[in-house]
Symmetry: C2
Subunit: 317 residues, 2 copies
């Protein structure tokens, strides 16, 4: 079996990119791992675990907002860009680090995507840390929302800030991972794009990697992570791949489906170049050898491209 | 919102293709629907319901083989090729027709993919027929398998015969649907490719439709249904799209992942041409205006293409 990308063994570059400002300290940690010669898989897992652990972030892991019944149900995935191995969980409960469960599942040939109680039992039996994932703050937010919708159906809140992380390591290997608590007030058992290969994430060390955040149900309609990686495989640079995959698809959905939710994608290629496309105001983090972990904002430029702004870097702190 | 494919409104062709010989009578019924001017969505749903209802078929619906704990857990999906709307369920229990639940979910913008207990509750609350899906025969097969593996872990049996159906109707609209009980002896909560957009199915009335059967965990690694539709969008005919998407990917997996499971794909394009690629001996059914529902067999030709043989037609009966 091949590992890494033989064509890139001599490069000394590495890079990591992740969705949303909340990934800044995780991105810094992933950058340290990569800078020290660590692997892409370890980098994305560490990044996402840091976001999952933080109770302040209401859309991922501990502190994530619950479904309409007040239960936190989590989705996560992991993909190894060398072997194309994937692992995923959806609707998993009471697991501290869903991304680590997903990574563990990626070592299996069959039964690598588990949902619901079956996923939870795999985690418990495998010795993964179990925890009550509903914080008091998240419970209060849920109760306030319930009161606000008394007498009517509770519409799912369309905040849906998945953390997605992509890394290229010094050996030319790539990995992708995602983690989310999904739509606030979602129906029990609802699955978004985050654990779905090709929709929420995709990684191929010989082509590139991509990950998504936004309204999963619309991202899935276009298999956008796969489509971006595919365009990089055919020679597009990551920014071009993102722009050309995302903006025409947003128009297609508007025309054919009649509406379109929030959609943001990030990408990295095998030489460490980055790309982003989004139909909203979006923040993301990245780190590379000559740049400490930094936050950028992105927005559509209205002409089929994306405009960027530096928000802050880790060295500002 | 556009519906159908405006460029094809004047054609009077229709077509339906489905995986495995078990789809023959469903394909005949779908052909009657399409021939009578019915819609692609109604055709694929009727086809799949017929396979789901039959207790003889041990890989789909009623009579489907259970997971390693003796519980039948079902996956299904539906996609409308006009709007790109999708609905899916995974790990659903005690529902007579998972494909109809999936189709119902495709009418929602959010919460259109439900798993586990949440999916079952949606079906029950929505008035879908509930049923004990474990037949005596399936229970006996499971018990025999358990005895056969006493003292060792029960390995998942790699029979995994998803019914996938694709239709083009006389108005130029396309639809795709899938249904399966998944791997026999699977882990509780295991999800294969069948309910995953782009992996198990994809439909775009302006490009084509594709569906998969085989080891879901490997099909997912290549987003093969989406990749085939994408190639048709770029001008490939369905057979060319299938051959070029599937055979090189099988080699890629063998090289990079070290092994590859069974993979079979079917496709149809907006003018009613068909395509198939497979790395095993595979059967499929199709019907079109000048051909009654017929069974074909397909196998790889060893040179990057697929060879076919007629097995029987509905008029043989």
């Amino acid at each position: 079996m091949e590992t890494g990308n033989p064509g890139l063994k001599d490069t000394r570059t590495w890079g990591v990119i992740a969705t949303w400002q909340m990934a800044l300290s995780g991105t810094a940690q992933a950058g340290e791992i990569l800078n020290g010669g660590g692997g892409a898989g370890d980098a994305v897992e560490a990044l996402i675990r840091q976001v999952e652990a933080c109770p302040e972030y209401t859309s991922v892991g501990y502190g994530g907002l619950p479904n309409r019944e007040g239960v936190v149900e989590l989705d996560a995935a992991y993909m190894d860009g060398d072997s194309l191995a994937q692992g995923a969980v959806a609707g998993i409960r009471q697991v501290r680090h869903p991304v680590s469960v997903a990574r563990s599942l990626s070592a299996r040939h069959a039964n690598s995507f588990l949902v619901g109680d079956g996923a939870g039992r795999y985690a418990r039996d495998g010795g993964f840390e179990m925890a009550d994932m509903l914080t008091d703050r998240a419970r209060n937010t849920w109760q306030d929302r319930l009161k606000g919708t008394e007498g009517g159906a509770a519409a799912p809140y369309d905040g849906h800030d998945t953390v997605g992380a992509l890394a290229l390591d010094g050996a030319g290997s790539m990995a992708a991972a995602t983690s989310t608590s999904g739509l606030f007030m979602k129906d029990p058992g609802r699955v978004g794009d985050s654990p779905l290969p090709g929709s929420g994430f995709y990684a191929d060390s010989q082509a590139g990697a991509a990950a998504a955040t936004g309204l999963g149900e619309d991202i899935m309609k276009g298999c956008l992570s796969y489509e971006i990686v595919r365009r990089m495989r055919e020679g597009a640079d990551p920014q071009e791949a993102c722009d050309r995959a995302v903006y025409p698809f947003v128009e297609t959905l508007r025309r054919r489906y009649g509406k379109v939710g929030e959609i943001s994608l990030i990408a990295i290629d095998p030489v460490g170049r980055f790309g982003v496309a989004t139909n909203v105001d979006f923040t993301f983090c990245l780190a590379e050898p000559d740049r400490p972990a930094s936050v950028f904002s992105a927005a559509p430029d209205g002409q089929g491209g994306t405009r960027f702004q530096t928000v802050r870097s880790d060295s500002d702190e």
